[in-house]
Symmetry: C2
Subunit: 321 residues, 2 copies
């Protein structure tokens, strides 16, 4: 058996190459960020067996841990500055595993311009636990959860429910076997690797009265946003954007609807604001889809089908907690 | 059995009261820090059974988790701005435990002017795991690890080895029984509750060429500082400040010397610089004690006793890793 890296070696060989200038080569006790605009800070922790499967590819685990944080920055209209990593490694870690983890992390640190600023690596008798704090720069405007106003449209980016469905497929091979290979692969990938919507940050700054990322299910997260804004919301089921793969699954298992709308891990953006501001982006892309509207009231979001019937779910949102 | 808090309840009832203005009442997805001077950022993770005892008082666990980060800020000459908390709770957490944890955290957030900025609470099948990212404000100067120069004095604050000895006492009741009650209590307390040396930050900014906090043992941490600064160091054993309690223990167990100098958890400040700058502080206090000097070379620190003999240890520092 090869000797495992010492803590010094793994910092120097695996993680220091991921450090940005503010990370001081990971050779100091802290990072030093230049003076600048307002700073946005967010933290998310992921535990093996709770937020991801312990046998997922290490690079994908690393990317997911970073991306769920980048998704929060995007929803606030912020641009990434960098991140700090606290990594609790289980007893059986290997050099290869850690090298693949660092490689995946480095790929994302590069592609999202979000360098490593600092970290701490410890051992744990429990499962792999990753805590990432992401720091971002508020480019003149922070998009709050609390700003939704009566009359605003409710919008989402991308398609909803794919990742929750991907998780179901991981746990239910019989269900997975009923889907086409391309749909199955698409949904599994959506669970494995969220796509933080950083490209939408500037649109959000310009036009959103309120926004948050969808991490615990669309309906539950909309409830949180409405509650924080002291308003209510109405959503039309038929307007919620679903992928082809999700439609394929729904066609033979209509009861998956609750999973789609109340499951977690979408990491799309839920935003409120004036319809004109969420129309067509400069390149002709339609980044946001209008799914409903903000109304007066304090009750949970109301979801209606095409006949105007109210749809009720047993649990509004998925909780990792 | 009482129902446990939901995630929403524990945020609203236990943690939101600890939030500073930048934490936005913990009601948003991220914190928003005002534009300002350079920001210093550091992260430390603590795992039950590795960095503290799972049955320690929850308030003390919370304080230790925050204080080890504040110690890093102090060593860099920074003033606290606030912190983010990622908390992975084991299956058996109770409302009472969590309330006591939050209370301890709140006491320290108040007394160190370091409010909660944001957090994430998740469940884990493993041990309690706490990751704190502390943000600080660099008041015009960041004190690096890398600045020690040949001819600088080497200084430490406080006394060295007390916490490492406290840990030994926790594990070795027979040893504990040989100490006086007051010494035992003092050493146990030093392990349980580090005292971050934030009051020394301004002296460090003014006078230190290099500094770091002593968390993995004096000799090992001095080796890290010297290596980062590309110098060597010589330390006189007789000049290393020891508490009365440590001297009492050493008197009947001289082999504890290695524990004292190479154990961890001191959270005192190791600093280099001009002797005049570390003399007597405005109030007449002597905050730092000179223990040696920086010399040219690349070898590990050399520790000499009063007869000039070199003292060697088997391991330079304690590793939690």
């Amino acid at each position: 058996m090869t000797r495992r890296f010492t803590e010094f070696e793994l910092i120097e060989q695996l993680f220091a190459p991921l450090a940005g200038p503010a990370g001081l080569g990971l050779a100091d006790d802290a990072a030093l960020l230049p003076a600048g605009e307002e700073t946005v800070a967010t933290v998310d922790a992921l535990v093996a067996g709770v937020h991801f499967f312990a046998d997922d590819p290490p690079g994908a685990i690393a990317k997911k841990a970073l991306r769920v944080n980048l998704s929060d920055l995007a929803a606030k209209g912020a641009e990434p500055l960098g991140f700090l990593l606290a990594l609790a490694l289980p007893q059986d870690w290997t050099n290869d595993w850690l090298a693949a983890f660092a490689q995946g992390l480095g790929e994302d640190a590069g592609s999202f311009s979000c360098p490593l600023l600092g970290g701490d690596t410890v051992k744990t008798p429990g499962p792999l636990t990753i805590s990432i704090t992401a720091l971002g720069c508020a480019k003149g405007r922070f998009v709050p959860r609390t700003g939704a106003k009566v009359g605003d449209g409710v919008f989402v980016s991308g398609t909803i429910g794919d990742a929750a469905l991907g998780l179901r497929l991981r746990k239910d091979p019989a269900l997975a076997a009923r889907l086409s290979a391309s749909s199955r692969d698409f949904l599994l990938e959506r669970y494995l690797l969220p796509r933080p919507r950083l490209e939408l940050a500037s649109q959000l700054r310009a036009g959103a009265s309120a926004a948050m990322d969808v991490s615990d299910g669309l309906i539950g997260d909309l409830a949180k946003l409405a509650r924080a804004s002291k308003v209510a919301a109405r959503v039309k089921l038929e307007d919620i954007p679903l992928s082809e793969a999700a439609r394929e699954a729904l066609a033979f298992a209509p009861d998956l609807l609750e999973t789609l709308l109340c499951g977690g891990d979408d990491y799309e953006i839920l935003a409120c604001g004036d319809a004109r501001l969420f129309g067509v982006s400069p390149g002709g892309r339609r980044d946001f889809r209008r799914i409903g509207e903000i109304v007066a009231g304090e009750e949970p979001p109301r979801l209606v089908d095409e006949r105007g019937n109210i749809i009720e779910f047993s649990a509004l949102s998925f909780s990792h907690f």
